[in-house]
Each structure stands twice: as C-alpha cells, then as structure tokens.
Amino acid sequence: MIKAGETGLITTDQVQIAAAEYLGEKWGTSVTVCNVEKIFGGASRETYKLSLEVDGETRGVILRRDPPSSLIDTERHLEYGAYDRIYPTDIPVPEPLFLENSPDFLEQPFSIMAAVENPMSDVAQLSNDQKQKIGQQKYDLLGRLAAKDPLALKFDEIMTVPKVVSTAAEQLAYWQGIINEDEIHPQPIAQAAIRWLAANLPPPAQKISIVHGDYRTGNFLFNDQAQITAILDWEMCHLGDPLEDLAWSLDPLWSGEELALAGRLIPHGQAIQIWCEASGLSCNEQALKWWRIFVSVKAVAIWISSSENFENGEGKDAILAMAGWVMTDRQNRILLDYLAPEVLS
C-alpha cells in the first residue's frame, strides 16, 4: 500500500506503481505505466494523466484521487455514477473505467477514466469562427442534456429526485447552509442575495433534468476541428431545474473581459436560443434572472468553502486560496450588479 506524506499528498512515482498494480489486477494482464503527469486545476480531486502499455498497445487514462480536502465536498460515487449513465448517450464524456472506494491502493479512493485524445480546453486563442462553432455545440449539448429523462437513465439510483415545485427552494437552502457553516467573515452581499432569492422564488421547474452543476467554458474538451469531445467535471451533478445549468454557464465570472459573450464564446441571446431549441424548453426571463442570482450565491458558497479549507489547514493548494479570496471578491461584485436597488426595482 502507498503511504502518503504528512500533507496527504502522494508523488507521481507512487501513482505509477499503484496504478500499474491496480490496472494489472483489474484487466488480468501486465500493465506498464510509462508516464504520469499531474494535471493542474483539478481542485476537487487530484488529477493525473497516465500513459500505459497494455498488451503491446499504448493508451491513456485519467486517474482522479480524492484529496484530503477539495474545493467541492462531493461524493465520488455520484460523480462516477453520472459519467457511467451519461457515457452511453449522445453527450460526450470520457469512458468511465473503474471506481475504487477502498483506500488500499492510493490511501484515498479514486476513479479511472479513459483519456480523451489531443484535448484542448483553453478558448482564448481560438478564432471567432472556432468560438462560434464551439459555442453552438456547447449550448446544443446543454439543451440536449436538459431534455433527457433522468429516470430513464437511472439517475434516481444515485441521487434524490426533487419535485418541480420545491427544487429551487431546496437548492437555495443547501447553499445557504454552506455559506453559514463555512464563512470566515460575514458576507453581507451574499446574505442580501439570499433574502432576495427567498422572497422571489421562481415558478416551478418545467421539468426535472440532469443538472451538470458546473457547466462552463473550461469544463469541456475540444479538438483541433473545434469539435467538443468531452464534458468533464460532473462532481456537482444533481437533479433539478435545467435553468440552473444555463444560468451557471452565463455567469460573468466565466466571461473574463468579454462580458457580452457566454463563456467567451457566443452572445448570450444566441446561447439561450440554441439551448431552447435543443431542449424544447422555454426560458422565462424572470426565472432565469432568479437562477442567475442563485448561481452567484452558489459560487460564493463554493469559494467560501475552499477558503475555509485553506484557512483551517485541510488543503494547502494555492487554487483554494485563489478561489476563496480572489473569486469571492469578483463574485461579490457580480452579485452587486444584479442586486443594486436600481436593477431590482
């Protein structure tokens, strides 16, 4: 068994040894792990890209290991279960291979997925045509995800099925609880937002959909033909109002300086229109406004939670401090733009 250091972290050499043993056992053949590369930015799980030789062929896999602390306190079986159920559909995700709940191999549970070939995720260098092409796919895929029947895909086996009338209030209560539990300093803007949300609940959801939970630029891969090849990071997946994903994807935090573009790709109006056509759902302006404010509160909760992890010593990754400080700062200014009395009146 691999022994992690005092920080709970392991080395790439340790991953190499443990992965070869584990995969060899699973596949019943000799597996050579040729290379291990830790991937930056996987704040909710430690993420490693492994190059393998199996039966004379080379292939890549992604190993995601539970860290001692993470940005998002999620259960790995929900994330893996989501990949498992989405993989056979027309929504592209990496093929899930193994979920290991035992700490016997890497001292923490982990999952392994097939690696996507030639992955790209940074849209900054793309041409306008490429951005347009990827943006259209992004919202078409999100619409198609919203249209799916979660029960037909057996999501009810791994997560709670909320009611259309109460899903918004339940989501609000959940993230309000996170803020109240984890805030290091009082959050007057988030608290004002929570009061507004509680007093202005949206109409019932049109349907209960699979909500990715973190659908944004950066959480999908594309190839050099500007084709989206995989939607990643399903750790916040849940069932709920499909407008939540649409709202999250439109949050100004993901637009950088290009505020008119959804996720730095296509104009907001176009994104919403594509989503409506692909989902067969409508986009009530007031309901979307509620969800846009909600997702900013949810984001503050996540950033605060990461800050709390950093401050209490559970996690020492710089990205936790960055999220907890810099992103909370930005998100508060986004919330203020939504909540200023002249906007709400």
Binding site: E37, K38, I39, F40, G41, H185, P186, Q187, P188, I189, Q191, A192, R195, D317, A318, I319, A321, M322, W325, V326, D329, N332, R333, L336, L339, A340, P341
Partner: protein
C-alpha cells in the same frame, strides 16, 4: 532598516515568477508556482493597504449605524459604540467582522421595515466596500 514588506513581497514574487519558475520541468508545478506568485502580489497590496481599507469600512459603517440607530438593539449599540482595541490586523479584522454582522441585520431590518434611505445607503456602502477591496494584482 525598516523593511517595506509590500515591496519585499512584490520583489520575491517577481523573482519566483521570472527566475525560478522557468527552471521547473513539471507543468503542474509551473502553474501552481505562477498562482502562488500572483497571490503573493495580492498579499503585498493587502499588507500595504489592508488595515486602512478596513478602517475606512469601519468609519463608514459607524455612520450608517448612527442613521439606523432606531433599528439597533441595545446589545448591537454596545458593539457599534466600541472602540478598536489595537491596529493589529487581527483586532481590526475582528472589529470589522463584528460590525459587519450587525450591518447584515440592519440591512435586513431596513428591507422589512421600509427604511428606504437607510437601505440605499447600505447598498452604496457595499458598492464602495467592494471597490475598495477589489483585488487588482490578479488578472
């Protein structure tokens, strides 16, 4: 010599990012190091301006509490009337937090009881507060 802590942090961050990071082989370490460098820059700004920013907040909140006195309990007034025990960052933070907790309650009370002008002044304060604390060291 009295070190200028903020300048020292900025110089260390620059050294980290321009001289040490390029020698790292792992992309993960390079990205992590760059993020740490940016955070050190933000901490440098906070070292230089953080206490003054909080003192400005505190002064503004106290003016709001005077305007909203009718909505404050006697216990709240004890907190809002208390003086800062020292200019150490921890003490300034604690005082700032205590006042902000009361501001949250006052904000809610202004909404519920129709104190429109007070409500507007709290929103205006929150705008100035976020502007004052805006992190410019990180793009």
């Amino acid at each position: 010599m009295i070190p200028h802590a903020d300048d020292a942090l900025r110089m260390l961050s620059q050294r980290l990012m321009t001289q040490l990071l390029p020698d790292l082989k792992s992309l993960y370490s390079l990205s992590d190091g760059a993020l740490i460098g940016l955070l050190i820059n933000a901490i440098a700004d906070e070292t230089a301006e953080g206490i003054q920013r909080r003192l400005d907040d505190i002064a503004e909140m106290k003016r709001i509490f005077i305007a909203g006195e009718a909505l404050l309990s006697s216990k709240d007034k004890e907190v809002t009337g208390a003086e800062l025990s020292s200019y150490r960052l921890t003490d300034v933070n604690d005082h700032h937090d205590a006042l902000t907790r009361i501001l949250v309650l006052l904000h809610e009370a202004s909404e519920n009881k129709g104190f429109e002008a007070l409500n507007q002044s709290i929103w205006a304060y929150l705008r100035r507060h976020t502007q004052r604390h805006k992190i410019t060291a990180v793009p």
